[in-house]
Amino acid sequence: MRRRAIIGTSLAVVAAMGLSACGGGDDSGASKTVRVTLANHVWTENIKQALPEFEKQTGLKVELTQLGEDQLSDQYNVKLNAGSGDIDVMMYRPLQEGKLFAKNKYLADLSDKVKSNADWDFADFQAGPVEATTYEGKPVGVPIITEQEVLYYRKDLLAKAGLTAPPKTLDELKAAAVKIKAAEPGVAGFVARTGKSPAVTQFSSFLYSFGGDFVDASGKAAVNSDAAKQAYAFYGGLIRENGPANVSTDMSWPEAMAIFTQGKAAFYTEANSLYKNATDPAKSKVSDTVGFAPFPAGPAGSKPYNIPSWALGINDSSKNQSNAWTFIEWATSKAQTLAQQKSGVPGARTSVWANPEGTASYPKDLVDAIAASTAGGVAHDRPVVVKVAEAREIVGQPIVDAIAGKDPAAAADTANEAFQKFLDDEAK
């Protein structure tokens, strides 16, 4: 009996201690610490180096989480779904998840904040990117990095094949790829992304240049238009016939870029924002022979995409929104954008492109290629919908079918039917 009493009392004590430990809360209302979640990107590396300056200026502390693209997406899906307030500033992809996040009210309305400081100058941002970070008329993000598709090529291989200038049209591109592949054993004429979903964005410029788009003017699925069928057949055929041997249908940019930078391909269509991977001698075997050209013209002209690939937004559940804005205002200021641009990250501010300092560090041919792209660029590089991942897989299917040697026209018809059904579902 005595032992029982002792056990009982000690249990009660333990229970009481446990309960008291659960109690009490912290009032993290407007914390001096701003929690920032960023993607692995050159932009992030640059910002990290400048952070001490920001912390000194404002007296705020920045707690940084850095993740790869896919992990970042998963992290947002878990945390924002749970209504977690432990992210203040979030780096996100306006075209990939912007519509979904805004619809789910994960992104705070920035209408008042963007007007709060005239020096910061919201009007300086390019119209296309701003459109992509606006939801139902309200700005919900600030674009930080823009992207256009350009043609990467090997100057030495072109010269050896007797070509004096990079191809100006898609037909010339194909002819040159065939010629180089035949002349150089072990070198592919052309390489590009082949994965069903990753390829969609880089395929989009081909689609537009053939005169097509993912949806037509009336909002109907249009991936089986004549132009689209030609584009699928061209892109898939180019990789199938002139691409690397045994080509995988899972390549995103790291794999395709590796083939190009290992000297195993002559032409490569890719986003310009990744150019450092090809020109940096530490990463590329072809750094001194790589050239850049505007996206080659198709039957409808040269129509590459021109989009904001990343933006900063504020988590709507954050209790620290005004400090979060202080961070965004600093990170997207004219000075920071110029510094980023100088290190090779294409900015979204008009002023940095007008400033000769902003383009001085770029390869001259790349600046020309970018200038050409921003002029006629299309403001999206994938279907503009809420469930982008699903839509990409649908419209990407004909790409991999074409690479695998199936009939691209039949695949496009099947994809169009599925895509129309998807659009109907989403409109409900």
Binding site: L100, P244, A245, Q262, E390, A404
Partner: protein, 315 residues
């Protein structure tokens, strides 16, 4: 008496007899529950609740955000999933094929290696360590490593084949060779675990039946087939059970080698990879939960079938 309200100590440091507060009396009477409570709370919070919540979600049309409004749709998701011959059933077939083939190779190879390692020999320690290496490696790292080895253009595997005059193979990149390649990786990584379990079983067998069979003039195969194997059967079933459940749930190797959706043609999309994609790529939480519940039932079913066999074997 004062002792009723203030606990004073009787000589010898013993608490006064008869002093028991209401709380401690209650605690004493419910001791078994109190002691089990932390574990039960843990199980409830981390197993029962998620399972029940998944079950609930599978009956709704939740999508986009878990916090968004969703409607109760009854068994509509189940009808949709079970009639999906495009993604669901192929994923079931791949899950079964992956598990079945991998398990077969792992058990046969594992048994062979365990028999080789059974009798002491020189350098035994080193061989054992070498064989167990794949087991301790992280599956994602293993996936990345094999992905490099099997790269069709710059990988080691095709290089080696080239030396012996065989042309380059697509390996993970091929539409039909991807699943067999991932099975190979799984076998490479997990055979050691089967070896470990079988070796433990073998070591605990007594020598007498073996000696008796030897005296009776049984050949090595006869001794294995009619003496060792029947005695080892319960251990084999444990190995199959553990490895089988694990193989059904394989995710890391598949995801690390082929990425989202199990590749562009869903070459290695098993149920686990499919459910993950529904949830994290498509944000279709209702459908994803349905697939997971069905998957859970499949695992329970196969576990039940195997344990029934085990009981049969022990009898």
């Amino acid at each position: 008496m004062a002792t009723v309200t203030t606990p004073t100590r009787a000589p010898g440091g013993v608490a006064p007899v008869g002093y028991v507060s209401a709380w401690s009396r209650w605690a004493n009477e419910h001791r078994k529950w109190l002691f089990a409570a932390p574990a039960m709370a843990f199980v409830a919070a981390l197993i029962v609740f998620p399972l029940a919540w998944t079950g609930y979600l599978s009956l709704t049309d939740a999508e986009g955000s878990v916090r968004a409004e969703s409607e109760f749709v009854g068994f509509q998701n189940y009808v949709e999933v079970l009639s999906d011959t495009d993604r669901f059933w192929p994923a079931v077939a791949r899950t079964v094929a992956f598990t079945g083939v991998a398990l077969l190779f792992e058990v046969v190879l594992g048994m062979a290696i365990a028999l080789l390692l059974w009798r002491p020999f020189k350098g035994e320690k080193w061989v054992r360590v070498a064989i167990l290496m794949p087991l301790v490696a992280t599956p994602v790292a293993v996936g990345m490593m094999w992905r490099l080895i099997f790269d069709p253009n710059i990988g080691l595997a095709n290089q080696v084949l080239g030396w012996v005059g065989i042309g380059p193979q697509p390996w993970l990149a091929g539409q039909h060779s991807a699943l067999p390649t991932t099975i190979f990786i799984d076998v490479w990584q997990w055979t050691p675990m089967v070896v470990l379990i079988l070796l433990a079983g073998l070591t605990s067998l007594s020598d007498e039946p073996q000696e008796a069979a030897l005296i009776d003039g049984a050949s090595a195969w006869q001794r294995f087939r009619h003496v060792t194997l029947p005695l080892l059967m319960p251990t084999v079933i444990v190995a199959v059970l553990l490895r089988g459940i694990d193989a059904l749930k394989t995710f890391d190797i598949l995801y690390a080698t082929k990425g989202r959706g199990g590749g562009s043609f869903h070459e290695v999309e098993t149920l686990n990879v499919y459910a993950y994609g529904l949830s994290f790529d498509y944000n279709e939480y209702g459908l994803s939960s349905t697939v997971l519940i069905l998957f859970f039932l499949i695992i329970i079913g196969s576990m039940w079938a195997l344990t029934a066999r085990k009981k049969g074997a022990q009898r």
